[in-house]
Protein backbone atom coordinates (compact mmCIF):
# COMPACT_ATOMS: atom_id res chain seq x y z
CA UNK A 1 0.00 0.00 0.00
CA UNK A 2 1.42 3.35 -0.94
CA UNK A 3 0.81 5.86 1.74
CA UNK A 4 -0.97 8.97 0.59
CA UNK A 5 0.83 12.25 1.23
CA UNK A 6 -2.07 13.49 3.32
CA UNK A 7 -3.07 12.01 6.65
CA UNK A 8 -6.69 13.03 6.23
CA UNK A 9 -8.88 14.61 3.61
CA UNK A 10 -12.36 16.09 3.73
CA UNK A 11 -14.37 16.07 0.54
CA UNK A 12 -17.31 18.54 0.37
CA UNK A 13 -18.25 17.90 4.00
CA UNK A 14 -21.38 19.72 5.19
CA UNK A 15 -23.31 19.60 8.43
CA UNK A 16 -26.47 21.41 9.46
CA UNK A 17 -28.30 21.71 12.77
CA UNK A 18 -31.81 22.67 11.72
CA UNK A 19 -31.40 26.06 10.05
CA UNK A 20 -27.83 26.62 11.21
CA UNK A 21 -25.10 25.59 8.82
CA UNK A 22 -22.27 24.35 11.01
CA UNK A 23 -19.99 23.11 8.22
CA UNK A 24 -20.39 24.50 4.74
CA UNK A 25 -18.88 22.38 1.95
CA UNK A 26 -15.48 21.87 3.54
CA UNK A 27 -12.62 20.63 1.38
CA UNK A 28 -9.42 20.09 3.32
CA UNK A 29 -6.34 17.99 3.09
CA UNK A 30 -3.70 17.84 5.83
CA UNK A 31 -0.22 16.34 5.38
CA UNK A 32 1.49 13.70 7.47
CA UNK A 33 3.77 14.80 10.27
CA UNK A 34 2.52 18.36 10.50
CA UNK A 35 1.18 20.62 13.22
CA UNK A 36 -1.99 22.30 12.02
CA UNK A 37 -3.85 24.81 14.11
CA UNK A 38 -7.50 25.53 13.49
CA UNK A 39 -8.46 29.10 14.35
CA UNK A 40 -11.93 30.57 14.56
CA UNK A 41 -14.10 32.45 17.06
CA UNK A 42 -16.34 30.28 19.24
CA UNK A 43 -19.53 29.13 17.59
CA UNK A 44 -17.99 29.14 14.10
CA UNK A 45 -17.88 25.37 13.66
CA UNK A 46 -14.43 24.49 15.01
CA UNK A 47 -15.54 21.86 17.50
CA UNK A 48 -18.15 20.47 15.09
CA UNK A 49 -15.45 20.05 12.43
CA UNK A 50 -13.19 18.28 14.89
CA UNK A 51 -15.94 16.00 16.17
CA UNK A 52 -16.97 15.17 12.60
CA UNK A 53 -13.42 14.14 11.70
CA UNK A 54 -13.19 12.10 14.91
CA UNK A 55 -16.47 10.33 14.21
CA UNK A 56 -18.52 11.63 17.14
CA UNK A 57 -20.82 13.40 14.67
CA UNK A 58 -21.83 12.25 11.21
CA UNK A 59 -21.68 14.77 8.35
CA UNK A 60 -24.85 15.36 6.32
CA UNK A 61 -22.89 15.25 3.11
CA UNK A 62 -19.35 14.57 1.99
CA UNK A 63 -16.58 12.08 2.50
CA UNK A 64 -13.90 11.78 5.17
CA UNK A 65 -10.69 9.98 4.35
CA UNK A 66 -8.06 9.06 6.94
CA UNK A 67 -4.78 7.46 5.89
CA UNK A 68 -6.15 7.03 2.37
CA UNK A 69 -9.19 5.07 3.61
CA UNK A 70 -12.79 6.29 3.48
CA UNK A 71 -13.88 6.34 7.14
CA UNK A 72 -17.16 8.23 6.67
CA UNK A 73 -19.20 5.31 7.98
CA UNK A 74 -16.70 3.97 10.55
CA UNK A 75 -17.21 4.51 14.30
CA UNK A 76 -14.77 6.76 16.17
CA UNK A 77 -12.38 4.11 17.48
CA UNK A 78 -11.95 2.41 14.09
CA UNK A 79 -10.68 5.61 12.46
CA UNK A 80 -7.24 5.52 14.03
CA UNK A 81 -7.68 9.06 15.34
CA UNK A 82 -6.82 10.26 18.83
CA UNK A 83 -8.92 12.91 20.54
CA UNK A 84 -7.91 15.21 23.38
CA UNK A 85 -10.94 16.81 25.00
CA UNK A 86 -11.15 20.42 26.09
CA UNK A 87 -11.81 19.46 29.73
CA UNK A 88 -9.44 16.44 29.38
CA UNK A 89 -12.32 13.98 30.16
CA UNK A 90 -10.06 11.82 32.31
CA UNK A 91 -11.64 8.81 34.04
CA UNK A 92 -12.07 10.23 37.54
CA UNK A 93 -12.04 6.88 39.37
CA UNK A 94 -8.83 5.56 37.82
CA UNK A 95 -5.17 6.27 38.54
CA UNK A 96 -2.86 8.07 36.13
CA UNK A 97 -1.44 4.73 34.93
CA UNK A 98 -4.89 3.15 34.49
CA UNK A 99 -6.11 6.20 32.59
CA UNK A 100 -3.14 6.00 30.24
CA UNK A 101 -3.41 2.23 29.79
CA UNK A 102 -7.19 2.27 29.28
CA UNK A 103 -7.05 2.06 25.49
CA UNK A 104 -4.70 -0.93 25.54
CA UNK A 105 -6.57 -2.80 28.27
CA UNK A 106 -10.06 -2.28 26.86
CA UNK A 107 -9.84 -2.48 23.08
CA UNK A 108 -11.50 -5.42 21.30
CA UNK A 109 -8.38 -7.54 21.73
CA UNK A 110 -6.81 -6.29 24.98
CA UNK A 111 -3.03 -6.18 25.29
CA UNK A 112 -1.28 -8.37 27.87
CA UNK A 113 -0.58 -7.04 31.38
CA UNK A 114 3.18 -6.85 30.85
CA UNK A 115 2.88 -5.11 27.51
CA UNK A 116 0.49 -2.55 29.01
CA UNK A 117 2.85 -1.91 31.93
CA UNK A 118 5.86 -1.43 29.65
CA UNK A 119 4.10 0.86 27.24
CA UNK A 120 2.43 2.91 29.97
CA UNK A 121 5.88 3.36 31.50
CA UNK A 122 7.39 4.46 28.19
CA UNK A 123 4.66 6.97 27.53
CA UNK A 124 4.83 8.30 31.10
CA UNK A 125 8.49 9.09 30.49
CA UNK A 126 7.73 10.62 27.10
CA UNK A 127 5.22 13.12 28.48
CA UNK A 128 7.11 13.68 31.76
CA UNK A 129 4.77 12.20 34.35
CA UNK A 130 7.39 10.12 36.20
CA UNK A 131 6.45 9.30 39.79
CA UNK A 132 2.75 10.06 39.35
CA UNK A 133 1.61 6.72 37.91
CA UNK A 134 -0.20 5.59 41.06
CA UNK A 135 -1.87 8.95 41.79
CA UNK A 136 -5.58 9.46 41.25
CA UNK A 137 -6.35 11.98 38.53
CA UNK A 138 -8.02 14.19 41.11
CA UNK A 139 -4.68 14.62 42.87
CA UNK A 140 -2.67 16.10 40.00
CA UNK A 141 -2.39 19.61 38.59
CA UNK A 142 -3.98 21.00 35.43
CA UNK A 143 -0.81 20.67 33.39
CA UNK A 144 -0.35 17.10 34.54
CA UNK A 145 -3.96 16.28 33.63
CA UNK A 146 -3.27 17.69 30.18
CA UNK A 147 -0.30 15.31 29.86
CA UNK A 148 -2.39 12.34 31.00
CA UNK A 149 -5.05 13.20 28.41
CA UNK A 150 -2.39 13.35 25.71
CA UNK A 151 -0.61 10.19 26.89
CA UNK A 152 -3.88 8.27 27.03
CA UNK A 153 -4.39 8.98 23.33
CA UNK A 154 -0.74 8.58 22.27
CA UNK A 155 -0.56 5.04 23.65
CA UNK A 156 -3.05 3.82 21.02
CA UNK A 157 -0.55 5.05 18.39
CA UNK A 158 -2.86 7.13 16.21
CA UNK A 159 -1.37 8.86 13.18
CA UNK A 160 -3.62 11.85 13.70
CA UNK A 161 -4.50 13.52 16.98
CA UNK A 162 -7.29 16.05 17.30
CA UNK A 163 -6.95 18.50 20.17
CA UNK A 164 -10.02 20.52 21.16
CA UNK A 165 -8.77 23.73 22.80
CA UNK A 166 -6.23 21.67 24.74
CA UNK A 167 -4.74 24.65 26.55
CA UNK A 168 -8.03 26.39 27.30
CA UNK A 169 -8.32 24.95 30.81
CA UNK A 170 -4.79 25.96 31.85
CA UNK A 171 -3.59 29.23 33.34
CA UNK A 172 -1.54 31.57 31.19
CA UNK A 173 1.83 30.61 32.64
CA UNK A 174 1.30 26.92 32.11
CA UNK A 175 -0.17 27.47 28.67
CA UNK A 176 3.12 28.90 27.45
CA UNK A 177 5.09 25.91 28.72
CA UNK A 178 2.61 23.35 27.40
CA UNK A 179 2.80 24.96 23.95
CA UNK A 180 6.47 24.07 23.62
CA UNK A 181 5.86 20.67 25.13
CA UNK A 182 3.06 19.79 22.72
CA UNK A 183 5.22 20.76 19.76
CA UNK A 184 8.20 18.78 21.09
CA UNK A 185 6.14 15.64 21.75
CA UNK A 186 4.61 15.82 18.31
CA UNK A 187 7.97 16.19 16.62
CA UNK A 188 9.38 13.21 18.50
CA UNK A 189 6.48 10.98 17.44
CA UNK A 190 6.02 12.25 13.89
CA UNK A 191 2.23 12.26 14.11
CA UNK A 192 -0.10 14.97 12.84
CA UNK A 193 -1.76 17.28 15.36
CA UNK A 194 -4.89 19.22 14.52
CA UNK A 195 -5.16 21.79 17.30
CA UNK A 196 -8.36 23.79 17.67
CA UNK A 197 -8.02 27.15 19.35
CA UNK A 198 -9.84 30.42 19.66
CA UNK A 199 -6.61 32.26 20.41
CA UNK A 200 -4.85 33.79 17.41
CA UNK A 201 -1.50 33.94 19.21
CA UNK A 202 -1.74 30.23 20.04
CA UNK A 203 -2.66 29.39 16.45
CA UNK A 204 0.23 31.43 15.06
CA UNK A 205 2.72 30.11 17.59
CA UNK A 206 1.88 26.43 17.30
CA UNK A 207 0.83 25.64 13.76
CA UNK A 208 3.12 24.72 10.89
CA UNK A 209 0.03 25.70 8.97
CA UNK A 210 -3.14 27.46 10.09
CA UNK A 211 -6.71 26.80 9.03
CA UNK A 212 -8.96 29.80 9.61
CA UNK A 213 -12.60 28.82 9.94
CA UNK A 214 -15.28 31.45 9.27
CA UNK A 215 -19.00 30.59 9.59
CA UNK A 216 -18.49 26.93 8.77
CA UNK A 217 -16.21 27.33 5.79
CA UNK A 218 -12.45 27.52 5.43
CA UNK A 219 -11.43 31.11 4.88
CA UNK A 220 -7.68 30.48 4.66
CA UNK A 221 -5.26 27.56 5.00
CA UNK A 222 -1.63 28.59 4.91
CA UNK A 223 1.61 28.99 6.84
CA UNK A 224 1.42 31.41 9.81
CA UNK A 225 3.51 34.11 8.14
CA UNK A 226 1.21 34.27 5.11
CA UNK A 227 -1.95 34.21 7.23
CA UNK A 228 -0.53 36.96 9.43
CA UNK A 229 0.81 39.29 6.74
CA UNK A 230 -1.66 38.50 3.97
CA UNK A 231 -5.05 37.52 5.42
CA UNK A 232 -7.32 36.18 2.68
CA UNK A 233 -10.57 37.82 3.81
CA UNK A 234 -11.61 40.77 6.00
CA UNK A 235 -12.80 38.31 8.66
CA UNK A 236 -9.44 36.54 8.78
CA UNK A 237 -7.85 39.94 9.36
CA UNK A 238 -10.35 40.55 12.15
CA UNK A 239 -9.80 37.13 13.82
CA UNK A 240 -6.04 37.75 13.89
CA UNK A 241 -6.71 40.62 16.25
CA UNK A 242 -3.82 42.55 14.72
CA UNK A 243 -5.64 44.62 12.12
CA UNK A 244 -7.82 47.68 12.17
CA UNK A 245 -10.54 46.81 9.67
CA UNK A 246 -12.63 49.56 8.05
CA UNK A 247 -15.82 48.99 6.07
CA UNK A 248 -16.47 50.96 2.88
CA UNK A 249 -16.16 50.57 -0.86
CA UNK A 250 -13.36 50.55 -3.42
CA UNK A 251 -13.26 53.40 -5.96
CA UNK A 252 -10.19 53.45 -8.16
CA UNK A 253 -7.03 53.63 -6.06
CA UNK A 254 -8.73 54.81 -2.91
CA UNK A 255 -11.15 53.23 -0.47
CA UNK A 256 -14.21 55.21 0.59
CA UNK A 257 -15.01 55.07 4.30
CA UNK A 258 -16.97 57.26 6.67
CA UNK A 259 -13.60 58.51 7.98
CA UNK A 260 -12.54 59.73 4.51
CA UNK A 261 -10.91 58.24 1.42
CA UNK A 262 -7.97 55.97 2.20
CA UNK A 263 -5.26 55.32 -0.39
CA UNK A 264 -3.80 51.86 -1.07
CA UNK A 265 -1.48 50.16 -3.53
CA UNK A 266 -2.52 46.50 -3.84
CA UNK A 267 -5.88 44.74 -3.61
CA UNK A 268 -7.00 41.22 -2.62
CA UNK A 269 -10.03 39.64 -4.27
CA UNK A 270 -12.88 39.19 -1.77
CA UNK A 271 -16.69 39.09 -1.58
CA UNK A 272 -16.80 41.88 0.95
CA UNK A 273 -14.96 45.17 0.55
CA UNK A 274 -12.80 46.15 3.51
CA UNK A 275 -9.66 48.10 4.29
CA UNK A 276 -7.22 46.67 6.83
CA UNK A 277 -4.07 48.04 8.38
CA UNK A 278 -1.96 46.34 11.00
CA UNK A 279 -1.83 47.84 14.51
CA UNK A 280 1.94 48.24 14.38
CA UNK A 281 1.91 50.03 11.01
CA UNK A 282 -0.11 52.96 12.30
CA UNK A 283 1.67 56.12 13.47
CA UNK A 284 0.19 58.79 15.70
CA UNK A 285 0.58 62.40 14.59
CA UNK A 286 -0.27 65.39 16.73
CA UNK A 287 -0.70 67.45 13.56
CA UNK A 288 -4.40 67.18 12.77
CA UNK A 289 -4.25 68.28 9.12
CA UNK A 290 -5.14 65.61 6.52
CA UNK A 291 -1.78 65.87 4.75
CA UNK A 292 -0.48 63.26 2.36
CA UNK A 293 -1.25 59.52 2.44
CA UNK A 294 -4.07 57.64 4.20
CA UNK A 295 -5.06 58.93 7.63
CA UNK A 296 -7.97 58.97 10.05
CA UNK A 297 -8.76 61.58 12.72
CA UNK A 298 -9.24 60.10 16.17
CA UNK A 299 -9.09 60.96 19.83
CA UNK A 300 -6.95 59.16 22.39
CA UNK A 301 -8.77 56.90 24.89
CA UNK A 302 -6.32 54.73 26.78
CA UNK A 303 -3.09 52.78 26.60
CA UNK A 304 -2.02 49.34 27.72
CA UNK A 305 1.56 48.40 28.55
CA UNK A 306 2.53 44.94 27.27
CA UNK A 307 6.23 44.82 28.10
CA UNK A 308 7.78 44.65 24.64
CA UNK A 309 5.24 47.02 23.19
CA UNK A 310 2.50 49.41 24.18
CA UNK A 311 -1.02 49.46 22.79
CA UNK A 312 -2.80 52.79 22.27
CA UNK A 313 -6.55 52.87 21.87
CA UNK A 314 -8.04 55.67 19.80
CA UNK A 315 -11.63 56.43 19.02
CA UNK A 316 -12.64 57.61 15.55
CA UNK A 317 -16.00 58.93 14.43
CA UNK A 318 -19.01 56.86 15.52
CA UNK A 319 -17.14 55.21 18.38
CA UNK A 320 -14.94 53.05 16.12
CA UNK A 321 -11.92 51.91 18.14
CA UNK A 322 -8.59 52.01 16.33
CA UNK A 323 -5.64 50.28 17.93
CA UNK A 324 -2.05 51.35 17.52
CA UNK A 325 0.85 49.18 18.61
CA UNK A 326 4.16 50.83 19.41
CA UNK A 327 7.11 48.44 19.71
CA UNK A 328 9.38 49.72 22.43
CA UNK A 329 12.44 48.74 20.37
CA UNK A 330 11.39 51.62 18.11
CA UNK A 331 11.82 54.21 20.83
CA UNK A 332 10.42 55.21 24.19
CA UNK A 333 6.64 55.18 24.70
CA UNK A 334 4.87 58.39 23.89
CA UNK A 335 2.22 59.93 26.03
CA UNK A 336 -1.01 61.28 24.61
CA UNK A 337 -3.73 63.37 26.17
CA UNK A 338 -7.15 61.79 26.50
CA UNK A 339 -9.97 63.56 24.64
CA UNK A 340 -7.40 65.37 22.49
CA UNK A 341 -7.59 64.81 18.75
CA UNK A 342 -4.77 63.23 16.76
CA UNK A 343 -4.24 62.05 13.21
CA UNK A 344 -3.50 58.35 12.67
CA UNK A 345 -1.33 57.81 9.56
CA UNK A 346 0.18 54.90 7.69
CA UNK A 347 1.81 54.19 4.35
CA UNK A 348 -0.53 53.21 1.50
CA UNK A 349 1.57 50.10 0.78
CA UNK A 350 0.93 48.84 4.35
CA UNK A 351 -2.80 48.69 3.72
CA UNK A 352 -4.51 45.46 2.70
CA UNK A 353 -7.61 46.11 0.69
CA UNK A 354 -10.32 43.56 -0.04
CA UNK A 355 -12.80 44.10 -2.84
Amino acid sequence: MTAAAHIFRLDSVSKRYGETVALDNINLSVDRNEYVSLLGPSGFGKTVLLRTIAGFEAPDEGRIEVNGVDVSSLPAHKRGIGFVFQNFALFPHLTVADNIGFGLANRDVPAGKDEIATRVNDIIKLVGLEGLAARGVGQISGGQKQRVALARTLITEPKLILLDEPLGALDANLRGRMRNELRAIRERLGVTFLHVTGSETEALAMGDRIIVLDHGHIAQFDIPDTVYSAPATPNVAKFLNRYNVFDGSVSGTSFKTEYGDLAFTQKTKSDRPAYAVRYDRVAVDADESAGKGPSVPASFVASEYLGSSIMYFFEAMGGKVIEVEHHLSNGAPKTFDTEKSYRLRWKPEDAIVFG
Binding site: F56, P75, A76, I81, A89, F91, N106, T153
Partner: protein, 287 residues
Protein backbone atom coordinates in the same frame (compact mmCIF):
# COMPACT_ATOMS: atom_id res chain seq x y z
CA UNK B 1 -12.63 41.98 59.94
CA UNK B 2 -10.90 38.98 61.40
CA UNK B 3 -13.13 36.80 63.54
CA UNK B 4 -11.39 35.72 66.77
CA UNK B 5 -10.99 31.95 67.07
CA UNK B 6 -13.02 31.84 70.27
CA UNK B 7 -16.07 33.44 68.70
CA UNK B 8 -15.95 31.10 65.69
CA UNK B 9 -15.77 28.02 67.88
CA UNK B 10 -18.70 29.13 70.03
CA UNK B 11 -20.59 29.97 66.82
CA UNK B 12 -19.93 26.42 65.65
CA UNK B 13 -21.38 25.01 68.87
CA UNK B 14 -24.38 27.25 68.54
CA UNK B 15 -24.94 26.07 64.98
CA UNK B 16 -24.90 22.37 65.78
CA UNK B 17 -26.85 22.75 69.05
CA UNK B 18 -30.36 22.39 67.51
CA UNK B 19 -29.23 19.28 65.63
CA UNK B 20 -27.62 17.74 68.67
CA UNK B 21 -30.66 18.52 70.80
CA UNK B 22 -33.02 17.03 68.23
CA UNK B 23 -30.97 13.87 67.75
CA UNK B 24 -30.58 13.39 71.50
CA UNK B 25 -34.29 13.81 72.20
CA UNK B 26 -35.62 11.78 69.32
CA UNK B 27 -32.88 9.28 68.51
CA UNK B 28 -30.34 8.69 71.28
CA UNK B 29 -32.73 8.67 74.24
CA UNK B 30 -35.42 6.50 72.55
CA UNK B 31 -32.83 3.94 71.41
CA UNK B 32 -31.26 3.85 74.86
CA UNK B 33 -34.76 3.41 76.29
CA UNK B 34 -35.53 0.48 73.93
CA UNK B 35 -32.30 -1.25 74.91
CA UNK B 36 -33.10 -0.67 78.59
CA UNK B 37 -36.71 -1.92 78.31
CA UNK B 38 -35.57 -5.08 76.51
CA UNK B 39 -34.04 -6.18 79.82
CA UNK B 40 -37.12 -5.45 81.89
CA UNK B 41 -39.17 -8.17 83.52
CA UNK B 42 -42.41 -8.90 81.71
CA UNK B 43 -45.28 -10.74 83.38
CA UNK B 44 -48.67 -11.36 81.85
CA UNK B 45 -50.23 -8.16 83.10
CA UNK B 46 -47.37 -5.84 83.88
CA UNK B 47 -43.81 -4.88 83.16
CA UNK B 48 -41.27 -3.98 85.84
CA UNK B 49 -37.85 -2.35 85.57
CA UNK B 50 -36.13 -5.35 87.15
CA UNK B 51 -33.29 -6.35 84.84
CA UNK B 52 -33.50 -9.86 83.37
CA UNK B 53 -32.41 -11.72 80.25
CA UNK B 54 -35.76 -13.54 80.03
CA UNK B 55 -37.02 -11.77 76.91
CA UNK B 56 -33.73 -12.31 75.08
CA UNK B 57 -33.78 -15.98 76.01
CA UNK B 58 -37.37 -16.19 74.83
CA UNK B 59 -36.44 -14.77 71.45
CA UNK B 60 -33.41 -16.94 70.81
CA UNK B 61 -35.08 -20.04 72.28
CA UNK B 62 -38.07 -19.92 69.96
CA UNK B 63 -38.14 -21.39 66.46
CA UNK B 64 -40.94 -19.02 65.47
CA UNK B 65 -38.86 -15.94 66.20
CA UNK B 66 -35.68 -17.31 64.62
CA UNK B 67 -37.63 -18.32 61.50
CA UNK B 68 -39.01 -14.82 61.34
CA UNK B 69 -35.46 -13.42 61.62
CA UNK B 70 -34.39 -15.61 58.72
CA UNK B 71 -37.51 -14.66 56.68
CA UNK B 72 -36.74 -10.99 57.22
CA UNK B 73 -33.14 -11.40 56.01
CA UNK B 74 -34.23 -13.55 53.05
CA UNK B 75 -36.96 -11.18 51.88
CA UNK B 76 -34.63 -8.21 52.35
CA UNK B 77 -31.96 -9.81 50.14
CA UNK B 78 -34.44 -10.85 47.44
CA UNK B 79 -36.13 -7.43 47.34
CA UNK B 80 -32.74 -5.68 47.32
CA UNK B 81 -31.62 -7.79 44.37
CA UNK B 82 -34.95 -7.30 42.57
CA UNK B 83 -34.94 -3.51 42.99
CA UNK B 84 -31.35 -3.41 41.72
CA UNK B 85 -32.06 -5.63 38.71
CA UNK B 86 -35.16 -3.64 37.77
CA UNK B 87 -33.96 -0.25 38.99
CA UNK B 88 -30.48 -0.10 37.45
CA UNK B 89 -31.51 -0.45 33.80
CA UNK B 90 -34.30 2.05 34.43
CA UNK B 91 -31.84 4.50 35.95
CA UNK B 92 -29.43 3.86 33.08
CA UNK B 93 -32.14 4.85 30.66
CA UNK B 94 -33.39 7.88 32.60
CA UNK B 95 -30.00 9.19 33.72
CA UNK B 96 -27.76 8.42 30.78
CA UNK B 97 -29.55 7.41 27.57
CA UNK B 98 -32.15 10.20 27.69
CA UNK B 99 -30.18 13.19 26.46
CA UNK B 100 -32.80 15.85 27.25
CA UNK B 101 -32.68 17.04 30.86
CA UNK B 102 -36.37 17.96 30.71
CA UNK B 103 -37.40 14.48 29.59
CA UNK B 104 -35.28 12.77 32.24
CA UNK B 105 -36.82 15.00 34.93
CA UNK B 106 -40.31 14.15 33.62
CA UNK B 107 -39.48 10.43 33.71
CA UNK B 108 -38.24 10.70 37.30
CA UNK B 109 -41.44 12.49 38.29
CA UNK B 110 -43.42 9.69 36.60
CA UNK B 111 -41.55 7.22 38.85
CA UNK B 112 -42.75 9.19 41.88
CA UNK B 113 -46.43 9.41 40.81
CA UNK B 114 -47.45 6.27 42.81
CA UNK B 115 -46.41 8.19 45.94
CA UNK B 116 -49.30 10.58 45.41
CA UNK B 117 -51.53 7.93 46.96
CA UNK B 118 -51.10 6.62 50.48
CA UNK B 119 -48.75 3.77 51.26
CA UNK B 120 -51.57 1.44 52.36
CA UNK B 121 -53.58 2.00 49.20
CA UNK B 122 -50.50 1.23 47.12
CA UNK B 123 -50.05 -2.02 49.02
CA UNK B 124 -53.73 -3.00 48.97
CA UNK B 125 -53.97 -2.22 45.24
CA UNK B 126 -51.89 -5.33 44.66
CA UNK B 127 -54.71 -7.56 45.97
CA UNK B 128 -57.08 -7.09 42.99
CA UNK B 129 -54.01 -7.40 40.74
CA UNK B 130 -52.62 -10.65 42.13
CA UNK B 131 -55.73 -12.42 43.45
CA UNK B 132 -57.21 -15.66 42.18
CA UNK B 133 -59.72 -13.64 40.16
CA UNK B 134 -57.38 -10.69 39.87
CA UNK B 135 -56.23 -8.73 36.84
CA UNK B 136 -53.11 -10.80 36.14
CA UNK B 137 -54.97 -14.10 36.22
CA UNK B 138 -57.78 -12.74 34.05
CA UNK B 139 -55.29 -11.57 31.42
CA UNK B 140 -53.28 -14.81 31.51
CA UNK B 141 -56.44 -16.90 31.14
CA UNK B 142 -57.86 -14.68 28.42
CA UNK B 143 -54.79 -15.24 26.27
CA UNK B 144 -54.83 -18.94 27.10
CA UNK B 145 -51.38 -18.84 28.72
CA UNK B 146 -52.72 -20.71 31.77
CA UNK B 147 -55.82 -22.94 32.14
CA UNK B 148 -56.37 -22.41 35.86
CA UNK B 149 -55.70 -19.22 37.78
CA UNK B 150 -52.30 -19.12 39.50
CA UNK B 151 -53.09 -19.12 43.19
CA UNK B 152 -49.50 -18.69 44.27
CA UNK B 153 -49.62 -15.04 43.25
CA UNK B 154 -51.45 -13.74 46.31
CA UNK B 155 -51.06 -14.43 50.03
CA UNK B 156 -47.61 -15.96 49.59
CA UNK B 157 -44.06 -14.80 50.06
CA UNK B 158 -44.02 -14.05 46.31
CA UNK B 159 -46.77 -11.46 46.63
CA UNK B 160 -44.88 -9.76 49.46
CA UNK B 161 -41.75 -9.64 47.31
CA UNK B 162 -43.65 -8.28 44.29
CA UNK B 163 -45.33 -5.61 46.40
CA UNK B 164 -42.14 -4.48 48.15
CA UNK B 165 -40.15 -4.44 44.91
CA UNK B 166 -42.70 -2.18 43.28
CA UNK B 167 -42.95 0.15 46.27
CA UNK B 168 -39.22 0.51 46.96
CA UNK B 169 -37.80 0.30 43.43
CA UNK B 170 -37.96 4.08 42.97
CA UNK B 171 -35.60 4.58 45.93
CA UNK B 172 -33.03 2.62 43.94
CA UNK B 173 -33.72 4.39 40.63
CA UNK B 174 -33.41 7.93 42.00
CA UNK B 175 -29.89 7.90 43.46
CA UNK B 176 -28.47 5.81 40.61
CA UNK B 177 -30.04 8.03 37.93
CA UNK B 178 -28.64 11.07 39.76
CA UNK B 179 -25.08 9.68 39.73
CA UNK B 180 -25.37 8.58 36.10
CA UNK B 181 -26.64 12.00 35.10
CA UNK B 182 -23.49 13.56 36.52
CA UNK B 183 -21.14 11.55 34.30
CA UNK B 184 -19.45 13.86 31.78
CA UNK B 185 -20.54 12.65 28.31
CA UNK B 186 -17.00 13.41 27.09
CA UNK B 187 -15.69 10.65 29.37
CA UNK B 188 -17.87 8.10 27.64
CA UNK B 189 -16.88 9.45 24.23
CA UNK B 190 -13.22 9.34 25.23
CA UNK B 191 -13.49 5.68 26.23
CA UNK B 192 -15.25 4.91 22.96
CA UNK B 193 -12.52 6.72 21.04
CA UNK B 194 -9.92 4.62 22.88
CA UNK B 195 -11.54 1.49 21.45
CA UNK B 196 -13.70 0.21 24.30
CA UNK B 197 -17.00 -1.46 23.35
CA UNK B 198 -20.30 -0.80 25.12
CA UNK B 199 -19.96 -3.63 27.64
CA UNK B 200 -16.43 -2.60 28.62
CA UNK B 201 -17.41 1.06 28.90
CA UNK B 202 -20.23 -0.02 31.18
CA UNK B 203 -18.05 -2.27 33.32
CA UNK B 204 -15.00 -0.01 33.58
CA UNK B 205 -16.49 3.49 33.48
CA UNK B 206 -20.25 3.75 33.91
CA UNK B 207 -20.80 1.19 36.66
CA UNK B 208 -17.91 2.29 38.92
CA UNK B 209 -18.97 5.93 38.57
CA UNK B 210 -22.57 5.06 39.49
CA UNK B 211 -21.57 2.93 42.48
CA UNK B 212 -22.20 5.67 45.08
CA UNK B 213 -25.77 5.88 43.74
CA UNK B 214 -26.16 2.11 44.03
CA UNK B 215 -24.94 2.24 47.63
CA UNK B 216 -27.26 5.10 48.60
CA UNK B 217 -30.18 3.34 46.89
CA UNK B 218 -29.32 0.05 48.59
CA UNK B 219 -29.22 1.76 51.98
CA UNK B 220 -32.65 3.35 51.40
CA UNK B 221 -34.20 0.07 50.27
CA UNK B 222 -32.53 -2.00 53.00
CA UNK B 223 -33.55 0.24 55.87
CA UNK B 224 -37.13 0.41 54.65
CA UNK B 225 -37.51 -3.30 53.84
CA UNK B 226 -35.92 -4.47 57.10
CA UNK B 227 -38.37 -2.38 59.09
CA UNK B 228 -41.40 -3.42 56.98
CA UNK B 229 -44.57 -4.96 58.41
CA UNK B 230 -47.55 -3.51 56.49
CA UNK B 231 -46.83 -5.06 53.09
CA UNK B 232 -46.14 -8.41 54.67
CA UNK B 233 -49.39 -8.50 56.63
CA UNK B 234 -51.53 -7.11 53.80
CA UNK B 235 -50.21 -9.30 50.99
CA UNK B 236 -49.20 -12.53 52.73
CA UNK B 237 -52.44 -13.25 54.55
CA UNK B 238 -50.35 -13.23 57.74
CA UNK B 239 -48.33 -16.18 56.51
CA UNK B 240 -45.13 -14.18 56.24
CA UNK B 241 -44.01 -12.83 59.61
CA UNK B 242 -41.20 -10.33 59.49
CA UNK B 243 -39.49 -8.94 62.58
CA UNK B 244 -41.60 -5.83 62.04
CA UNK B 245 -44.80 -7.89 62.29
CA UNK B 246 -43.63 -9.39 65.57
CA UNK B 247 -43.02 -5.95 67.02
CA UNK B 248 -46.53 -4.89 65.98
CA UNK B 249 -48.08 -8.00 67.52
CA UNK B 250 -46.09 -7.76 70.75
CA UNK B 251 -46.79 -4.06 71.18
CA UNK B 252 -50.45 -4.81 70.45
CA UNK B 253 -50.54 -7.20 73.36
CA UNK B 254 -48.48 -4.82 75.50
CA UNK B 255 -45.45 -7.16 75.59
CA UNK B 256 -43.03 -4.23 75.62
CA UNK B 257 -39.97 -6.20 76.67
CA UNK B 258 -40.03 -8.70 73.78
CA UNK B 259 -40.95 -5.97 71.31
CA UNK B 260 -37.86 -4.09 72.53
CA UNK B 261 -35.67 -7.17 72.04
CA UNK B 262 -36.82 -7.45 68.42
CA UNK B 263 -36.34 -3.70 67.99
CA UNK B 264 -32.76 -3.89 69.25
CA UNK B 265 -32.03 -6.86 66.98
CA UNK B 266 -33.45 -5.01 63.95
CA UNK B 267 -31.46 -1.89 64.81
CA UNK B 268 -28.26 -3.93 65.05
CA UNK B 269 -28.93 -5.64 61.70
CA UNK B 270 -29.56 -2.28 60.03
CA UNK B 271 -26.42 -0.83 61.58
CA UNK B 272 -24.35 -3.71 60.23
CA UNK B 273 -25.96 -3.49 56.78
CA UNK B 274 -25.49 0.27 56.47
CA UNK B 275 -21.87 0.19 57.64
CA UNK B 276 -21.09 -2.65 55.22
CA UNK B 277 -22.53 -0.64 52.35
CA UNK B 278 -20.56 2.43 53.41
CA UNK B 279 -17.36 0.43 53.23
CA UNK B 280 -17.97 -0.20 49.51
CA UNK B 281 -17.55 3.48 48.64
CA UNK B 282 -16.37 6.57 50.42
CA UNK B 283 -19.57 8.59 50.09
CA UNK B 284 -18.05 11.74 51.49
CA UNK B 285 -15.51 11.72 48.66
CA UNK B 286 -17.98 10.80 45.95
CA UNK B 287 -20.84 13.19 46.67
Amino acid sequence: MAVPAKTSSSTAWLLIAPGVLWMTLFLVIPIAMIVYVSFWTQTTFKIEPTLTLASWQQFFGSDTYLTSLWTTVRIWLIVLAATLVIGYPTALYVGLFVKSKTLSTILLVVCVIPFWTSFLIRVLAWRPMLGKEGAINIVLQYFGIVDHPIEALLFTELSVIIGMTQIYCVFMVGPIAFMLGRIDPNIIEASRDLGAGFWRIFRKIIFPLSLPGVVVGAIFVSVMVLGEFATASALSGRKVNLLGNIIVTQVGSLKWALASVVGVILTIIMGIVVSLFLRVVDLRREL
